[in-house]
């Protein structure tokens, strides 16, 4: 069996401010997040979740500090307002961005995401949730070690979202996912490690909370989930 190198995302004394601005988006941020697995970045709006995601992508302007990625060579970042070009059906776009060997994987993902009936539609003809689903499928079909999903399942109904998250976890156990969401139940339930970025002026600026990391074959226990949610809310 092929042994994967250990994955780790770590950050020390990280500060980020937009050019020509005095106040920092986040300051002295430090965390250590082991991978692989389905992890989350949680916090109120404006604390720098997307800025941190862009730092992971290599956009270092305005950043100081140390960012370490071990066992992670290729990072992809997807966000919820992305669009596919309108000159072809979404199914045709998917065909064009995959290798021939990936057809089976594509079909499985399309089915998991309940997108089979919509492959013949143009992107503009889809609902917001369908748009986000088709966008996420094309990222999952790419070569990556880490995928940052910035509100990637916004506007998707809860049962479908749950099915998709469990499906992703089952199909990509050796990948590092960083899921940015404002849904505390969702991150508490499905994520292994949750980096909670605190609101402005709060110390510490971030805390790591262990999530329930639910998989499809285990029952959900109410009490631990509620404790995790409470921890997240206290840290935010």
């Amino acid at each position: 069996m092929h042994a994967h190198p250990p994955m780790r995302l770590a950050c020390r004394q990280a500060t980020f401010r937009y050019p020509q601005t005095a106040s920092a988006v986040f300051e002295n941020l430090a965390f250590d997040m082991p991978g692989p697995g389905f992890n989350a970045l949680f916090g109120p709006s404006g604390v720098g979740k997307t800025s941190l995601a862009r730092l992971l992508m290599g956009e270092r302007d305005g950043f100081s500090g140390e960012l370490q990625m071990t066992g992670i060579k290729r990072v992809l970042y997807t966000y919820n307002t992305e669009r596919l070009p309108g000159w072809a059906a979404v199914g045709q776009h998917l065909e064009r961005i995959i290798a021939p060997r990936q057809h089976e994987q594509k079909d499985q993902l399309v089915e998991l995401f309940d997108m089979t009936p919509h492959l013949g539609s143009r992107f503009a003809q889809l609902s917001l949730g369908q748009k986000n689903r088709i966008n996420l499928i094309r990222y999952l079909l790419q070569d990556f070690e880490m995928l940052v999903m910035d509100e990637s399942l916004a506007n998707v109904d809860e049962p479908t979202r749950e099915k998709i998250l469990l499906g992703i976890k089952a199909r990509f156990p050796d990948k590092f996912f960083l899921y940015i969401s404002h849904n505390v139940i969702e991150v508490a339930k499905f994520c292994r490690h949750i980096l909670v970025m605190a609101g402005k002026g709060r110390t510490p600026s971030a805390a790591m909370v262990a999530g329930q990391d639910l998989t499809g074959d285990q029952p959900l226990e109410r009490d631990p989930l509620e404790r995790t949610m409470l921890e997240i809310m206290n840290a935010a």
Partner: protein
């Protein structure tokens, strides 16, 4: 689309004519200054066919000039869309050069190339080229971030795809710019003919001016306007067809 263009022109033309006739009757001006409707009708009968041929002559040059301008503007727009030093250089050069009035260069062109086809074509192309270039540059240099992100991050972005995305997203704008540039090309050709050429409707207007015959000028303007409206309407229609085909392919 085509009909709308035509009736919009007819409304404006006859409104202008009504104002002119209003001035004539209010100030009791003679037919020599502003001809009455009967004289205009007679002038139309005697000159319309000849002028229509002149308009077609002018328009054929304007269309060739416009096509050349579009090709050049798209080429330079594609080169200038890049954020490299070359792209910036092309953009700055385009913005600076267009600030110079092309009509002012027309005499030089006539001196060097004579008063024939080539001078008219060159002036028409130059007059409609710069506004076209600025629009194409603006469109091509503006990233469509929410579409391009995926192709960039996965290393799939090629210049052809970048151009395709930006052109597709701005197809309505491009169609409007191309239809609008038809007026500029026509205006450029007429100005060129008016200054020094020996053919075309601009040349005929110059002769009518020497004869102080406002009737002939008004007939020429009518034919220019109606032909241009038809041409622009056809361009918009073609743009709509292209867009529809592209979107439903």
């Amino acid at each position: 689309m085509l009909l709308r263009r035509i009736y919009q022109f007819l409304i404006i033309y006859f409104l202008g004519l009504a104002i002119l006739l209003g001035v004539k009757y209010a100030l009791r001006l003679s037919n020599y200054v502003i001809p009455d409707p009967l004289l205009l009708g007679l002038t139309f009968q005697s000159e319309a066919l000849r002028y229509f041929k002149d308009v077609l002559d002018t328009m054929s040059i304007a269309i060739i000039g416009q096509v050349l301008s579009i090709c050049l503007a798209v080429l330079i727009g594609i080169l200038g869309r890049q954020t490299t030093w070359f792209g910036s250089f092309v953009k700055v050069a385009a913005y600076n050069v267009q600030a110079y009035p092309i009509v002012a260069l027309a005499p030089i062109i006539f001196i060097l190339l004579g008063d024939g086809f080539l001078s008219r074509l060159l002036i028409a192309a130059m007059i409609c080229y710069f506004p076209l270039l600025l629009s194409v540059l603006g469109i091509m240099a503006e990233p469509i971030g929410d579409i391009e992100h995926f192709y960039r991050i996965t290393g799939r972005m090629r210049w052809q795809l970048e151009v395709k995305i930006r052109a597709f997203e701005n197809l309505s704008k491009l169609t409007t710019v191309v239809a609008g540039s038809a007026t500029l090309a026509m205006a450029g050709t007429i100005v060129a003919e008016f200054i020094a050429a020996n053919a075309g409707i601009g040349y005929s207007i110059r002769i009518a001016l020497y004869q102080s015959d406002l009737g002939k000028i008004l007939i020429a303007l009518f034919l220019i306007g109606i032909s241009l409206s038809v041409y622009q309407g056809l361009l918009e229609w073609a743009g709509a067809i292209i867009r529809k085909t592209w979107e439903s392919r």
